[in-house]
């Protein structure tokens, strides 16, 4: 096989289609039941789409991408997760199959997407608190609306889009909170200046805003959720005004009855596979934190491994589509399927569009740059690591003994559970960074200058990522992993 694509979202699908069109033999896998990734997620099994328009534009875009990839000859496999990647050989597990399959390819494209930025605050573990991504998945795959009196709290373009989408499903959105500042004339001027070539994005934003106004959903700027309250589930949401760093301004708290709190502070790239492959990373909180380094053709520092989409820094679906195509063109040229000149020529319009998107993203940064305050909301009794039930107090106690990320993990077990630190590691590293101070072996603080990437040392990478990357990167049953043909030399060694 020529190209093995991990991830069936916009980046992976567009890459698979593009590469197959140039004659590469392509296999794409995705761990979910349906393709489309999070954004173009297709309805789950058992759903029949009678009117595509009513399901939404994202659905239709997904269908088109899947069709294009299939028509070009790419093989697409769902329910298949990648457990390990070494060089350009991947160990894959297809649901329902009793064994691991090894896939060897000349090139690998990792397009793993992103997951919700976890933000611990008092009450974040209460039933009724959902993440924006989780709620979207629920809506898109199962057509289920979360809750009936919903507060949305978060930041970024999604803070506009999501409440508008939910309203369509009949959810009563009682309040939308945006942690970033109210747009001023100077912001809007910058955005409009960058808007050239981004008309669709601007139009979307305006239409979402208009829908909120029409539905009389109050949208309040520079406010963030402080805690969720309730006995067995969310009964009320407390929110407060925040400063430029999203730090709570005392005395501005307000309480509002609600049964659902949807939290959307943006997304963080899924980095497990890319870290396992040994890729180099930089750091940019506004792109989601750890960002894999790629060249102009989306090639990482690991031989034969490329990366595209939100997994390489969260920029959204339009950018992911372009990056996927660039990665495919790069691979096609590298493997001799097309000439370098042809690749350059085909890439030119893609690069132009990507540059326009990037201008737009940067123009929005003054409004949406992530503030350090969201990592300072937890109270001593807040459970930071949900898998191992580790509270903030426990973490702070152990940080009296050590500021080493591995040691903190071993003393508290934070990050050792089922999610392997995906939910708690950012908070743990923020706590460590604050205690280490700026001078010593500090991890980068939240980017002060919006949009600037920071090169990472090994130790900083370890502090931010927490776990050492090791297979399997997805849970895998012992019976599936078990290989009786591995020779056992029979020497017992015990503790």
């Amino acid at each position: 096989m020529d190209l093995f694509v991990v991830g069936g979202g916009p980046a992976g699908l567009s890459a698979a289609g593009e590469a197959a069109r140039h004659g590469l033999r392509v296999v794409l896998v995705d761990e979910r039941v349906t393709l489309g990734g999070q954004i173009y997620r297709q309805p789950g099994p058992g759903f029949v789409v009678r009117d595509a328009r009513r399901v939404g534009r994202d659905y239709q875009r997904g269908v088109a991408l899947v069709d294009a990839a299939l028509r070009a000859g790419a093989e697409l496999r769902c329910r298949t997760s990648v457990l390990s990647l070494r060089g350009t050989t991947a160990a894959c597990l297809t649901e329902g199959r009793g064994h691991v399959t090894l896939i060897r390819a000349r090139r690998v494209l990792v397009a793993p997407g992103a997951s919700d930025r976890p933000v611990p605050f008092p009450g974040w573990t209460l039933p009724g608190v959902v993440t924006a991504g989780g709620a979207q998945a629920l809506v898109k795959a199962s057509r289920v609306a979360p809750g009936s009196r919903l507060v949305f709290a978060g930041s970024g373009p999604l803070a506009l889009a999501f409440p508008a989408q939910l309203r369509h499903l009949g959810v009563h959105v009682v309040l939308a909170l945006e942690a970033g500042p109210m747009p001023r004339v100077r912001h809007l001027a910058r955005i409009l200046a960058a808007g050239w070539g981004n008309a669709a994005l601007l139009r979307d934003a305006l239409s979402y805003r208009a829908q909120l106004v029409e539905a009389r959903v109050p949208l309040r700027y520079a406010r963030a959720v402080v805690r969720a309250e309730g006995e067995d589930r969310v009964e009320a949401v407390v929110h407060a005004a925040v400063d430029a760093d999203w730090r709570v301004i005392p005395g501005t708290e307000e309480r509002l009855d609600a049964d659902t709190l949807c939290v959307g502070y943006g997304f963080v790239p899924s980095t497990e596979l890319l870290r396992l492959a040994g890729c180099r990373f930089t750091y940019d909180e506004d792109l989601g934190g750890l960002v894999v380094e790629v060249d102009a053709w989306q090639r990482t520092s690991a031989e034969g491994v490329s990366a595209a989409g939100d997994g390489t820094g969260v920029r959204g679906a339009p950018a992911a589509l372009g990056q996927g195509r660039l990665a495919a063109l790069g691979a096609a040229a590298d493997l001799g399927a097309i000439t370098q000149a042809r690749a350059d020529e085909l890439a030119r319009p893609v690069r132009r569009r990507l540059a326009a998107k990037e201008r737009f993203r940067r123009a929005l940064l003054p409004l949406y740059a992530v503030g350090a305050g969201i990592y300072e909301l937890a109270s001593p009794e807040t459970v930071v690591c949900r898998c191992e039930e580790v509270t903030l107090a426990r973490l702070e106690e152990v940080m009296e003994a050590t500021l080493d990320v591995d040691a903190v993990k071993s003393y508290t077990r934070a990050g050792m559970g089922l999610c392997q630190g995906r939910n708690c590691q950012r908070q743990v590293s923020a706590l460590l960074t604050r205690r280490r101070g700026p001078s010593t072996y500090a991890a980068p603080s939240l980017s002060v200058t919006a949009g600037s990437a920071v090169a990472l040392s090994e130790e900083q990478l370890a502090t931010l990522a927490g776990t050492t990357p090791r297979p399997p990167v997805r849970p895998a049953p012992i019976g599936v992993l078990a290989d009786d043909s591995v020779p056992d030399q029979g020497l017992f060694v015990g503790g």
Partner: protein
């Protein structure tokens, strides 16, 4: 949880001490504790964090049954006297573990669950039967289980396993907190424990001025010492080499599989007499599966990386022994370094060629570390009732792979 405080670990490094211990693993921390409690002036220097290598990355089981590596292959009669010594020693290690939480006034996660050692073949069962006789004679309580007795006692084992021995004093503790607890109590008793202080070399002084025989040169200066203990685990040979000592030790990487938590299935820890398997279900329900599968060595400070075949081979043996594990998901693997001696015996004692220079490395260190530390401390304070066995001497000749003490199981 009992942990040493950061400001204590970051304090000034003394310039003079009776004993300097190099290495903050279980061996070094436990020895610092026993020496400090006995009133000995002691400084422990650790290059990084406490307990980060073998002491904190082993699976935390303590095994007291005679293991296959203790048999020389020369026959039971030939081995009997030495095995009896081993058993008595291991029984003492068992008593030590039973008492350790009280001794340290700390929760070390000690669970005395009992332990099974299983056999797949009649030949292996024969070894179990023979070894159990020696264990009984040496005072370690064990019993042989076969047939319906085994099924009733351990219904989760594969039905075609021919037998097992059960030792009620086996179990596990939390390897992540044991050495730090020793360090915290050592500091309380007056020891100076310092982290992030790499030792560059141990220089021998010829004139013994002021009673010091060594100068320990480290990242933050120099430290004069009457006695030095090399407790640097897998890196002990590197440190000793500069002093002309060739320790019979080498570094290996060991693999461990960790699963998602499940409802209680196993109570005892399980090992295999003839294959690489140690298995337990920890207090929080996860299964910890290891047993000596190799990992890829990486230069320090990089962590050892995983061999795919160790994960899958280890999984196969685990499923063979406990078939119900087939649908339990592995969520994580880890690899730790292991300081191995070819004969798997501890490397403990003073070097005749370099008086005052002690080595303290224990390949089965979680089981034996605390006991060995107390014995070595007694020896160093001349209050010993039992000496550290001479066969543990760091001066002994290395035994090479395939050497006399390794038996091939049936």
């Amino acid at each position: 949880m009992l942990l040493p405080r950061r400001q204590d670990l970051a304090g000034d490094v003394p310039t003079d001490s009776d004993v300097v211990i190099v290495g903050g693993g279980l061996a070094g921390c436990a020895l610092a504790y026993f020496l400090a409690v006995a009133g000995v002036e002691v400084v422990l220097l650790e290059r990084a964090e406490l307990n980060r290598e073998a002491s904190g990355t082993n699976a935390g089981s303590f095994h007291f049954q005679i293991a296959i590596h203790q048999l020389t292959g020369a026959g039971w009669d030939a081995d009997r006297a030495r095995l009896l010594d081993d058993v008595r020693f291991l029984s003492r290690a068992a008593s030590m573990w039973m008492d350790l939480e009280r001794e340290l006034r700390a929760d070390l996660g000690v669970h005395v669950t009992g332990g099974l050692m299983v056999a797949e073949t009649p030949e292996q069962l024969d070894i179990l039967v023979q070894k159990q006789r020696v264990e009984r004679e040496g005072g370690l309580e064990t019993e042989v289980l076969t047939g319906a007795g085994l099924r009733t006692f351990a219904p989760y084992l594969a039905e075609d396993l021919v037998g097992a021995t059960y030792c009620p004093s086996e179990g596990y503790a939390n390897p992540l907190v044991t050495a730090p607890a020793f360090a915290a109590r050592a500091i309380e008793a007056g020891a100076a424990v310092r982290t992030h202080v790499p030792v560059w070399e141990v220089e021998r002084l010829e004139d013994h001025s002021g009673g010091s025989r060594f100068v320990v040169r480290h990242a933050r200066g120099a430290l004069r010492a009457r006695r030095v203990v090399n407790a640097a685990g897998a890196w002990a040979p590197d440190l000793a080499r500069a002093n002309g000592l060739k320790l019979p030790l080498h570094a290996e990487g060991l693999h461990v599989n960790v699963t998602e938590p499940r409802a209680r299935l196993l109570h005892p820890v399980v090992q295999h007499i003839g294959r690489r398997l140690t298995l337990k279900q920890s207090a929080n329900g996860t299964f910890i599966i290891g047993g000596g599968w190799p990992a890829r060595a990486e230069p320090w400070p990089a962590r050892y990386s995983i061999r795919w075949t160790s994960m899958t081979g280890n999984a196969a043996v685990a499923r063979r022994v406990v078939p119900a594990l087939a649908d339990v998901r592995v969520i994580h693997t880890w690899a730790g370094v292991w300081a191995g001696s070819e004969d798997l015996l501890p490397v403990v004692g003073e070097s005749a060629r370099l008086p005052g220079y002690f080595t303290f490395v224990v390949p089965t260190g979680f089981t034996l570390g605390p006991l060995m530390a107390s014995l070595l401390a007694e020896q160093m304070t001349l209050s010993a009732t039992t000496r550290v066995p001479l066969e543990y001497s760091p001066d002994r000749a290395p035994v090479f792979a395939g050497g006399a003490r390794r038996a091939v199981p049936g």
